[in-house]
Amino acid sequence: MAERAVLAENVSKKFRLFHERNNSLKATIMRGRRVVAEDFWAVRDVSFEVPTGQTFGLIGENGSGKSTMLKCLTRILRPETGRIEVRGKVSSLLELGSGFHPELSGRENVFLNGAILGLSQKELRRRFDTIVEYAGVGAFIDEPVKNYSSGMYVRLGFSVAINVDPEVLLVDEVLAVGDEGFQRKCNEKFADMKADGRTIILVSHSMGSVQNMCDRVAWFDHGRLREIGGAREVIEHYTGSVGGDNRSDESGHPRWGSGEGQITKVELIDADGCPTDRLVSGVPATIRLHYEMHEPIAQPIFSFYLATINGQPVSGPNTRSYGCVPDKLDGPGHVDVCLERVNLLPGTYELTPVLTDITMMKVFDYRQNLLRFDVERGASGEDWGVATLLPRWEIISED
């Protein structure tokens, strides 16, 4: 049984909503009372535990209380009731570079920000070169940070936060910023930290990254904890439920996203170029994603998640990681996913196509299990597992 890194017990946090916000003495005296306010419970009676070394995701719709919960864990907000315990050195990434002073140089800001995150000057001096190198700001380190590009600003902030070597890292949607290279770096770093046995608590709207990174997930709904459990099933229940029927398409498949662009259909095309409803193991085929953009969308990213009918993940490629990013798309069209040889083994599979922006955080259209199809036994007759390595056998006898 792993040690407990984070404990939240019956945590509730109340905000006061002001109908008339005015911080002047005059207004207070005129009104006679301090405030006319209404209570709003952002987090209500939430309890959970995170063992050391686990990556824990907080998901939920906007305003569901997950970010408030994270701020309570960082001690920025103090809950009305309940108890929070965080064991070990904590670092938080709520907004990258938020502690920077624009007039000061990168170097001065590294020391200031590091001190806020609890590093001693000695430690900071020791790690300074690593931090600068990781951020890749180079000679700019002695320039005032207000002259930095937004990318450099964010990278430096991330580099400081990550290099304080936290035992517990609290992250709020930071993966949504920065260019692709930076995001890849972030993901690698998180994976390293995870492998190192650090505890990570992550707030995200990107079900893709939550599913990839998190061991367990807590689903927040109107301030309450709706479900807590293994990442995959909670995410599935969440994406399945969000919004109810208006989030499902005509055939009852869960569907969500902002809708500027849509995935209209998924087709399977066989080796002869004819539409088909099944694939054959080991022969060429194409998966065709039909889309329609209702307005020009810059750098859209197509991806899909392929899983077995039992929900076992098989593959989840996206156009971004293959460098296939059009500058702009408008109107209808289709994306062909060309498979030189289908290396799925016989069985029933479900395909979830997703259309997002370049960050993959903003989802235009997510259509869960839109296509269900069978894969038939091919010439090899191979059928154990879900995938074939498409091997070519050679037996060399040395006799």
């Binding site: 003495l25 938080s92 938020s98 000061l104």
Partner: protein, 274 residues
């Protein structure tokens, strides 16, 4: 829960925030640091002309230094006053001005007003050092002898200023008027304190319509004692009055305690109110 490690990292952070305060204050200004000296100099010039020359205010000649230079008499009390005023006035906005830091990171919030007081202290020590050199040039060697006591006095003013800074910075989050109100308040307070004029000026005067002596009423004001204390050790070069010292110290620590208590109570909702 305050552990030793937490205390140590707080101290490091305080140093850093103070440095930030000092560095950013005069960044991109041509004269930089010199500004922090030019301001009191300009003040001294104005007061010396108005009070020393026009109104012929004369410091009472007393031993052992027997100095009679009005400008020095003024500076010995005005610099500590400025230190106090700067501490409070720059602390007041320290929470509101660092809203983003407070909303996005966690650290003991007290450090923000404390760092502005720290920055003011650094400037003040430099000013006092220069003043000491001038006093020596005028033959006031006793100021050196009493330097350790002067240093304690400076720290007391710092404690007083930090108490007020904690109190008003947190109140200012809820009532933004405080900042404007304090500007006027300090102006009135300066003239209700025998700093630009010697206390002897008020000898024999009464509060209008009462039998209360103006001098006696003035002694309630802790800054009256503060001015007298600094003048004893710096200007006259003699031991400060024990009762004055006690009175001022009680004020300083009482305000510090109140400031800390109020701050602790009101900071709970700080990140939401900003």
């Amino acid at each position: 829960m305050t552990t030793l490690a937490e205390y140590r990292s707080s101290r490091e952070l305080l140093n850093n925030l103070t440095l930030r305060e000092l560095r950013s204050k005069y960044k991109r200004s041509f004269l930089g640091w010199i500004w922090s000296l030019l301001n009191p100099l300009a003040n001294t010039l104005v007061y010396t002309v108005v009070f020393g020359v026009l109104f012929k205010a004369k410091p009472p000649e007393e031993g052992p230094s027997h100095l009679q230079v009005y400008a020095l008499y003024l500076l010995c009390a005005l610099l500590p006053w400025n230190f106090f005023q700067t501490s409070v006035m720059s602390s007041v906005g320290s929470l509101v001005g660092n809203g983003n830091l407070i909303k996005k990171t966690y650290f003991p919030r007290e450090l923000l007003p404390a760092s502005t007081v720290g920055a003011a202290l650094v400037s003040h020590l430099i000013e006092m050092g220069l003043l000491l050199v001038v006093l020596l040039a005028f033959g006031d060697y006793w100021a050196i002898e009493w330097l350790p006591v002067t240093f304690v006095l400076i720290l007391l003013v710092g404690v007083f200023g930090l108490g007020a800074g904690l109190l008003f910075s947190i109140l200012n989050v809820y009532f933004r008027d405080i900042e404007h109100f304090l500007g006027i308040f300090f102006l009135l307070w300066l003239y209700a304190t025998p700093i630009v004029y010697p206390p002897s000026t008020l000898q024999g005067h009464h509060l209008p319509g009462t039998h209360l002596g103006a001098l006696e009423v003035l002694r309630v004001n802790p800054m009256t004692e503060m001015a007298a204390l600094f003048r004893s050790t710096m200007f006259y070069g003699r031991a400060p009055d024990g009762w004055s010292l006690l009175y001022f110290a009680v004020w300083a620590f009482a305000l510090f305690w109140v400031g800390l208590r109020v701050f602790g109570r009101m900071e709970r909702r700080l990140a939401e109110e900003l």
